[in-house]
Amino acid sequence: MSFIYVAANISMVLLICSVVLVLIRLFRGPSIEDRIVALDVLSVIGIAIISVYSVLTQTPLLIDIGIMLAILSFIGTVALAYYLHKGLKKNV
């Protein structure tokens, strides 16, 4: 059992704790913007979990999935915020 194995396990536990905290905000969030922010942070934590998991299993190919996740999360966040803003202007 080397040091990197222990360190990756510790950081995986920390990341799973933060996923739980973000999910509390996602379910409890009073407005829809809170939920969008929570989803954005959740995708960032997903990239971190994929990276740590690739260190744990020594699979370097998993880093490519992180690129895809970053691009998709940005597009999703901007699309949600854009349509929220557009619907708001129509109502005013």
Binding site: S18, L21, L84
Partner: protein, 111 residues
């Protein structure tokens, strides 16, 4: 030697992300929540990815890590700006200790 540095970087980055999520749970209004998550989570993911690149010591992995870090650094402010503008124009309540509201005269808030 590199493995120890990589493991320490992984733990430090995970701690930054954990602090960001504690911020998203404890901050009083949405703008402070965005201020916590956008900065601390981006810093944490950068540190975790640098630790991963230091673990593999491969040029291809380093290139992918640099691409992810550049993309996150370019897009996180844009996304936070769009969410913040939508939240402000929708008229979400500010924290009661917020003193300066410079957009108040330019854009009418929906009540």
């Amino acid at each position: 030697m590199f493995e120890i540095i990589a493991g320490l970087l992984l733990i430090i980055g995970s701690l930054f992300i954990l602090i960001a999520t504690i911020g998203i749970l404890r901050m009083p209004d949405i703008f402070l929540r965005m201020s916590a998550t956008t900065k601390a989570a981006t810093l944490g993911i950068c540190v975790v990815l640098i630790g991963t690149a230091m673990f593999y010591q491969d040029f291809g992995i380093l290139t992918r890590v640099v691409i992810i870090i550049m993309f996150l650094g370019l897009t996180a402010p844009v996304a936070a700006h769009m969410i913040g503008r939508a939240a402000y124009l929708e008229g979400l309540p500010l924290w009661h200790k917020t003193h300066i509201d410079e957009m108040k005269d330019e854009f009418p808030r929906k009540k």
